[in-house]
Symmetry: C2
Subunit: 410 residues, 2 copies
């Protein structure tokens, strides 16, 4: 099992789950030769699971995916995704565009339109140039193959402000068979999901009942993608999909047994790696910050405190400057809404005790400053109250974030 | 009545409410000759009202002020305030420091310690150099006088990252007598109150029952200071105090009559002006953004939506670049948690209809861009559902914010 951040440009051949083909192209939404349209096709019908944005404003493709999953979740055939335009706040024309895309893919593959997922990411409120997508679909479907290059193209076609493609692979052995999981994602930081949009796709050759695939995905998303989406933030297009072909030939997972738990752990590993890659590629980010809260009254309180700290502009700018100003962490915890006793609170910054019982504990500023300059900086807040704990991840907040977002469209 | 943003460096003599003296000094917390300690003294006992932070982590002086207000709210004598150090997360030593300060002032004035308010603002978690404050108190109390210079000194002594002092004056006529109100505040933007801390003081010569003064202050704070503290953010030191000397000689306000309403309106005007000055001086800010939400199911829903829009980093960076990307406003509204129908939503950006019924309404990008470059940019979101409305104010989010906060202490 491997869930390290990948160093290679794309997954090796032996990481590809059986039963899927991939392709990508430039269809004219972005400047050629930048890829802007990708497809994942199941050789046969596949089981699917999905988690969608909780934003009240949902892009047309999100509505379509949700509908298709309900109707045909046990027999999906493909995912098509475009970047550059989110097809959100585009009214009836936007929904018609998503439906036309699904129909065009279904026609080429030879299946029902409801067996197709359609995803979009990019700018909100601009009409989608649907013709360009429709024109590209026949060649795209024909080009799809079971190769690392095909998968690699897909991972790049969904990028917006991402500086690099993100993928992660895992495997497990179930009833003597090797089960492969391969995921990819786009998203350039969790503090602005309403623009960048997070999209994640995990394909696997496991044989599993759709309801259990959904359960495993929902659980994995909670502790990974939803632990970087701080502050309750949700975008208009956020979508995570899992597709299972069953081609591994394992005894089909049909109940919450040890096979289920092993598969679910592998799925969570893939999602965890993708989530951390998203944070590390946060717009303008130079380092990843892990906020761990322990000793809270319960897990919900711990999560509330950790998320408030992780979302604080003051905390995030402090990490940009590697300034060991632990008071900002305590103050953010204090406004989280969760109860705790500041007088019992300890704060470890980059591994060093800086606050004990709510007051400063003597430490070397130079030492902590140096540790805060690293790529990964852990923060641990001990509340000394109960057994509740949570971990969330954020990135530092640099002036490059502002430069990227002050003129995104222009 | 005047509640314009002041152009003068300090208030004119005839704006000073009768019955108060003011002074400020450098006591050595900041580099001389920067003022870092200020005092307001009532000639006699004054009625007081206060609103304090809702942060679970409360600085020692906030706890002290809250206690003293409960014990002696009808007979307070003075407020002493220091900048540079928030005296927060400083444990028992911090509380002892605040108490020692109150005692020292009381000794000089000749009253009880519980008749003194003590306020601090600045860095969290660093022990306060109390001796420097105590040493300065005798001369400070002696220097206090009824002059614009004394008041002006106080407004500067409480500044931290503020680039300019903030004050506002108002007056009203009650039972044939002229009542004066004069306020000042510090705070450099609402998006980071856990560092900058908002402090506000309003002195008035009105005669009023303490309970009604408290009622008027609580109401005014809700629609002004709490409408720039977006996102439920509260700092460890936020404090707003009102002091009423009664020296105007009006018939004492003792019930919710027209005199009360006239006074409350004047108080709200002062607070409104101070609140907008705080936003305009937001760290790195170049313009003020007003977010007005109308047609919500109720006022609470409108406030929730307006606050979420105002707190969004994407929306705020968009205003830094004057980019008419209305989709970000719609997306922020969508994640606020309040219910509305995006298909009925209109968005006016800088006075121009840019989104109608949830989709783009044709507009001139050049024209809106130019309007967004102004000092004050209004945004109106019409939800077309009910009669709920709210207004909040925010500022744009520039890279200077990051520069200021990445190395606040160093």
């Amino acid at each position: 099992m491997s869930n390290d951040v990948p160093q290679m440009n794309t997954a090796p051949l032996n990481a590809l789950p059986r039963g899927f083909r991939f392709a990508a192209t430039n269809c004219g939404l972005r400047k050629a030769p930048n890829l802007d349209l990708g497809i994942i096709i199941g050789d046969e019908e596949v089981s699917a699971a999905g988690v969608f944005t909780q934003n009240l404003v949902r892009a047309a493709p999100v509505v379509l995916c949700d509908n298709h999953l309900r109707k045909a979740g046990a027999r999906m055939r493909a995912v098509i995704a475009n970047s550059r335009n989110a097809n959100c706040a585009t009214g009836e024309a936007g929904m018609a565009a998503a439906q036309a895309t699904a129909h065009a893919v279904a026609r080429e593959i030879g299946c029902d339109a409801e067996q197709i997922f359609v995803c979009s990411t990019g700018v909100i409120g601009v009409p989608l140039k649907t013709e360009r997508i429709l024109n590209a679909i026949p060649a795209l479907v024909k080009a799809a193959d079971q190769t690392p290059e095909g998968f690699g193209g897909f991972t790049r076609a969904i990028m917006t402000t991402d500086t690099r493609p993100k993928w992660a692979a895992s495997r497990c052995t179930l009833s003597g068979k090797t089960v492969r999981l391969l995921g990819c994602a786009k998203g350039a930081g969790m503090i602005h999901p309403n623009m960048a949009t997070m999209l994640a796709y995990i394909v696997t050759d496991v044989a599993i009942a759709p309801a259990l695939l959904q359960r495993a995905l929902t659980s994995a998303v909670g502790s990974t993608f939803n632990s970087i989406t701080v502050d309750g933030d949700t975008s208009t297009n956020d979508t995570a999909l899992a597709l299972a072909s069953g081609a591994a030939g394992n005894r089909r997972i049909a109940k919450l047994d040890s096979d289920y738990r092993r598969f679910a752990a592998s799925l969570e590993n893939v999602c965890h790696s993708l989530a951390l890659q998203i944070v590390a590629d946060g717009e303008g980010a130079t380092r990843v910050i892990e906020i761990e809260v322990r000793g809270a009254a319960n897990d919900d309180a711990a999560r509330q405190i950790a998320s408030t700290i992780a979302a604080s502009s003051l905390v995030k700018t402090m990490f940009a400057g590697a300034d060991p100003n632990w008071g900002r962490i305590l103050a953010a915890a204090g406004r989280s809404g969760a109860k705790f006793d500041p007088r019992k609170t300890d704060i470890y910054l980059a591994g060093v005790l800086t606050c004990r019982g709510g007051v400063e504990h003597e430490f070397s500023e130079t030492n902590v400053h140096k540790r805060m300059l690293r790529d990964f900086v852990p923060v641990r807040v001990e509340l000394g109250r109960g057994r509740g704990s949570a971990r969330v991840w954020t990135c530092d907040f640099t002036s490059d974030y502002v430069h990227i977002n002050a003129a995104y469209r222009t």
